[in-house]
Symmetry: C2
Subunit: 343 residues, 2 copies
DNA sequence: CTGAAAGCGCTTACAG
DNA sequence: CTGAAAGCGCTTACAG
């Protein structure tokens, strides 16, 4: 494998000249020399050694994408479409920018920080981190970091997210407009700040604006898993004063509910309406197709890379930046009027 | 950021002793020294510099996972569940082994090879490479490589795959057993060796064993995309001597067909049977749930990492290895007898 | 426009 | 059991 030295010797110049040519500092080299060097580079098939470059330049050209590791339930990471699509789009933009992507599931903040430091990673994008983890991460490693869907209040973190609260609000309003008065909520817990909490808040507000309240017995806990949602459909149906519509905080939950309701002989949208969130493919796979709040995942990924690259360029004089992408209601077939029996 | 030197100075030993302690060559160091070094390492929060280590050790501890880049159609990579689940599982095993994962979409063999060389990657796993690409890759970079689902004939490549042909055979047999005599095939093109070609071959063989033939007008080309499959359902229905059942080479196609048939007023499984392949989540999302051939994607990912690690250990005296995982029929609701009208 | 030298932070024979 | 020295392949001031 040829080295810089080999190229320099063959071209009859110094290593530093070759380095200058390769790194775009071409204003410092005569055209003739550039041509000669490039010819040799091509002929020898020279490829710069990235580890050597990182070591001496104190810049690795590596961007890390950290995502939640397999949770306690043993569910492997990247099983969910949101994270995997996000990763794919981030990879393409990172590569396009001439950088490299290290994929890293975070099992502990410490080990993640160690990896970043060890590779002297230029910057990192974090999926699904809690507020306390964010602080620990920032304290442990000094590089641009952008967080995704973080709803922490700290002004010192960069974030790319969406209008979760508005989404919840639109979901609630849509159901109310359809004539529903008893509306349920199905989603994961939201003790901590996060997208679920925001979506819930917006939803509750929409109800309040219509003089409605979200009754405690109409909120059902459910992880973002199809099977969990199928199972939980029973609970919704068994609730006192059964709701005639539910807002599910994720399409995968909405899809599971759809199946659960169907099995229980409660057809959607005739007897029960459902509205989802995310607009993942699953929303169109099922029948009826799910009315949901669209979010632009590729757009989020693109924005995340943009923000990170901008900060890389400014580093270390970074100003944190928050980007919030819009959401929009997409009408499909899972929302209808309340059943006649209750109208 | 403390360096090896700092630790050595603080512990009152040489750098090489610290290095020995950190790299597990502890038989060469006295227990007392080990303890002292470890204490300093902990106190200083020392983390080895991976780029320096890579450079001097000629071993990067990086494993690359290469997957197909966004195709000409502009479809982003990792949009498909198979690849993303595979990536997630590979990441977890690679990390568990103390290695790092570089995620890389391949747009050209050359640029991929350059990346591998540049980082001096220890080994790589390739998703979705064609036979000619395999050869080019192996020629361009000398390190253990394991390919996934490759059906090339070269004995010199390591591969982890599944019994695609058997799967196709089982699919055909299942449909025949249900009483079907006019059976269609829906899947991508298969001019080149690959999983689709194998599945098709097994399928055709099953038909032949039952004295049936796959009529050209009953094979419909369709990419592995839901929307494409929805559209293509018309073609299946419009075929002369319309088939009463179809084998789709991927669940996502099966799901699309399901919707397409339903829209056309041709209910599954009453008027039309469908059997899929992969056993992805989508097979259970839809109604009726799709009868399909199960493959163990996490198992494949685990096997791929195992094979790679074994070869890393033997390197450069590697023997190529082929692992083939089983498939199994999972009965659900999309296969029934032919409609009465044709019986 | 070009180069000689130092140095990035490790590991690897080699000695003792 | 421990260390001094060389070297991995680059980039970065600094000179000229």
């Amino acid at each position: 494998m040829p080295t810089l030295q080999d190229v320099a010797r063959e071209a009859g110049v110094s290593k530093m000249t070759v380095s200058n040519v390769l790194n775009g500092r071409r204003d410092r080299v005569s055209p003739a020399t550039i041509a000669r060097v490039m010819e040799v580079v091509g002929r020898l098939g020279y490829v710069p050694n990235a580890t050597a470059r990182s070591l001496s330049a104190r810049r690795s050209n590596i961007v890390a994408l950290a995502f939640p590791g397999c949770d306690s339930g043993g569910v492997e990471s990247l099983m969910n479409p949101h994270d995997s699509v996000f990763l794919g789009v981030v990879e393409s933009h990172v590569t396009k920018a001439g950088l490299y992507l290290m994929a890293h599931s975070v099992t502990s903040v410490e080990s993640t920080a160690d990896s970043l430091r060890s590779w002297n990673v230029d910057g990192a994008i974090f999926l699904g981190t809690r507020a306390d983890e964010v602080a620990a991460l920032q304290a442990a490693y000094d590089a641009p970091m952008v967080f995704i869907d973080n709803h922490g209040t700290s002004p010192h973190i960069s974030n790319v997210g969406i209008e979760d609260r508005l989404g919840g609000h639109l979901a609630g309003r849509r159901l109310i407009e359809a004539g529903h008065r008893r509306i349920g909520f199905v989603g994961p817990r939201f003790d901590e700040p996060g997208v679920v909490r925001e979506r819930h808040a917006g939803f509750v507000q929409a109800l309040a604006e219509a003089g409605l309240e979200l009754r405690p017995e109409h909120v059902v806990r459910c992880n973002a898993s199809f099977d969990a949602a199928v199972a939980v459909a029973q609970q919704v149906l068994a609730a006192p004063q059964r709701p005639t519509a539910v807002f599910a905080t994720a399409d995968i939950i909405a899809a599971g509910l759809l199946k659960g309701f169907a099995r229980a002989g409660c057809p959607v949208p005739d007897e029960m309406s459902i509205i989802g969130f995310d607009d993942l493919e699953v929303a169109r796979h099922v029948t009826p197709e799910i009315t949901t709040l669209h979010q632009d995942i590729p757009g989020k990924a693109r924005a995340a890379v943009e923000v990170l690259l901008a900060q890389l360029a400014q580093w270390p004089a970074v100003r944190s930046e928050r980007r919030v992408l819009g959401v929009s209601l997409v009408e499909r077939g899972s929302v209808g009027p309340p059943p006649a029996s209750v109208r």
